[in-house]
């Protein structure tokens, strides 16, 4: 066997080269700005009907957990917590209440972004390559300014 086979042709060499290429691909961002790891880890979030799948999947899973509660005899410290599906229904109710309270509270408490007169740009230690953010006022008013 000759030693002067072209690069990437002999078995070990090809393996190394392929591995290196693969590793390189794994952090080469594609033209659309998609990180290759993003496809592997979270590509599934962009599949079709993912919203419906999540909705029905979680619904069925949640219902299953409550049905499981019928079968299992739990021993909670409080009697009310022993009732079937208490945790699930309480969690659902609390979550919904908190989120829906966001509507009136938002209307009540939200003010202009510069309400205190201190709206401004990002801190000094952000990425130096960061392009200037155009949507920020170039000369914001600060509290204490005349």
């Amino acid at each position: 066997m000759s030693n002067d086979s072209p690069d990437g042709r002999d078995t070990a060499g090809r393996f190394m080269k392929q591995a290196a290429e693969k590793a390189h691909q794994l952090h080469t961002v594609s033209d659309d700005g998609m990180h290759p790891m993003a496809k592997i880890l979270f590509g599934w979030t962009e599949t079709k009907h993912i919203g419906a799948i999540m909705f029905w999947g979680l619904g069925v899973f949640g219902a299953g957990l409550i049905i499981l509660d019928l079968v299992v005899n739990r021993h909670d410290y409080f009697t009310f917590a022993n009732s079937t599906g208490f945790y699930g229904l309480y969690g659902f109710a609390c979550f919904t209440f908190v989120v829906l309270m966001g509507w009136p509270l938002g209307n009540l408490l939200r003010r202009n972004e510069n309400y205190y007169g201190d709206a401004g740009g990002p801190p000094a230690d952000v990425d130096p390559d960061l392009p200037e953010t155009p949507d920020l006022p170039s000369h914001p008013d600060y509290e204490g300014d005349e």
Binding site: L58, T96, L100, L105, Y115, G144
Partner: protein, 582 residues
Amino acid sequence: MSAMLAALNPGWLLIFVGVVAMFLPARRIRQSLAIGAPLVGILMLALADQNVNHLTASVLGLDLVLYRVDGLSFVFGLAFLIAALLNAIYAWHTDDRIQDGMALAYGGAAIAAAFCGDLMTLFVFWEITAVTSVFMVLGAGTRASYFASMRYLGMQILSGVLLLAGIAYVYHDTGDIGLQVFEDLAQPGAMLIFIAFGIKAAFPFLHNWLQDSYSKASVVGAVVLSAFTTKLAVYAFARMFPGQDSLIWIGAIMTCFPVFFAVIENDLRKVLAYSTNNQIGFMICAIGVGTPLAMNGAVAHAFADIMFKGLLFMSMGAVLYRTGTTKASELGGLFRSMPWTTLFCLVGALSISAMPLFSAFVTKSMILSAVAHAGLPIIWLMLMFASAGVLEHSGIKIPYFAFFGHDSGKRVKEAPFNMLLAMGMAAFISIAIGIPALIPGLGYEWLYNLLPYRQEAMTYQPFTFDHVLTQMQLLVLATFAFVLLKRFNIYPPEKRGEILDTDWAYRRVGFSMANWAGTVWGKVGPAMTSVFFKLSSRAYDRIEATFSPRGELARGGLTGAMAVWTAALLGLVLLLAFISVR
């Protein structure tokens, strides 16, 4: 050598190295020191015997205990040291001498405070944390951060002053400045110390320094801030106010109210600050319950929180670093360009939501069990409510609006490797302490082994079928609620804006009143001065016109009027003297 290492407070080492690092222009040497110091500190802590006064001093008749380790302080000290290490790794890409040095000294001060054995030493390091931490906010370099840092410093110093006043009372009453358990809040000393701790723990109505400063701090600064100050206050409460009934309600309220603010807040670092309030509420409530199970829960949850909250702040820091914003309304879809950051953020989100196999599941369940065992159904329901709330803002909102949801179109680079490494380490710890002890002594048992009431901790079983089932019910159904609300478009949209909170009282009303007082003084002051001058000059003129050599009396009709007047006045004085002596 090892004896010397074991006798030195590791916090002092960090403060010393931090101060030295501030003057080191060689960036990599400085940063290596910042990473090396916590590592040596962990070694020092491992070598130190527990329940022994390693270093004492007597100053001005006060007996100071400068280094003492016990079951309670060990966990906090260890968590602070790990946090200091992660922070130093997270800051590797920066080149900021003051921030590097002050971050290390800040961590060191918190560690030194946790390992001291008397109130006076606690006060000294309490103040050093205030002064060093303000540089984390100032480091952002914006004018908004400058104003925020001054407000922050004001609150922190106020806490220190109250603490000192409380110590003075306690010393006056008992002649003892050792760390002690205060049972009666009616004593002014105990009350002052309670409020001083309450400010740093961000009690309701005293909490806004946290949202104000953390959201305006530098990228690295917010991560550093998230670890120390509030958790040092939790330690101080656990040390001096265990079983204090009022803490139960304060803690429970602390878990609930931030949930509502976090839902409508647009700045995700502010959301995390509210989430900090919420998590500290769990710890404070448990300290109020005060049973061994509750205390274990509080301490374990503090340890877990330092890791996962640090992790969440790191992930938001990475987003801020690459995109220049953490506003939910401007983010979304970042998983495409920052998948590793997304993954670590999700680990943090699952940890804080107390998902089985993640850290808060094994720590928060202790607190909930302790509250149930204490027979406090309303408090228990409040904590359960807050658990659903924390899932909403930290478990779902943060990762969803930053990394998924509506695609903002931002295509940025993945976070720098050092940031990913620090996040990876925090994520590893968050998972490692949350999994079952497949190998005895590891998994959650590793953390339980460190807790102050070790035996009680080792008998507690977090992974019972009931626990897992009920927690899964809560999380799955609450997540289902999110999907449902999103699907039917009734989830409130993220809008830009400033959310009013109790800081409105001093940032708006107080500031306006101070401004008004200034304006009024600016006008009234000169007016008062001119009136005074007018009156005094008129009086002078009158006196001069009467008594001067050219005055009325000098040239009056009667010759020698001065002599007559003098005689009359002398007579009057004599008469007065006569009356008063008689």
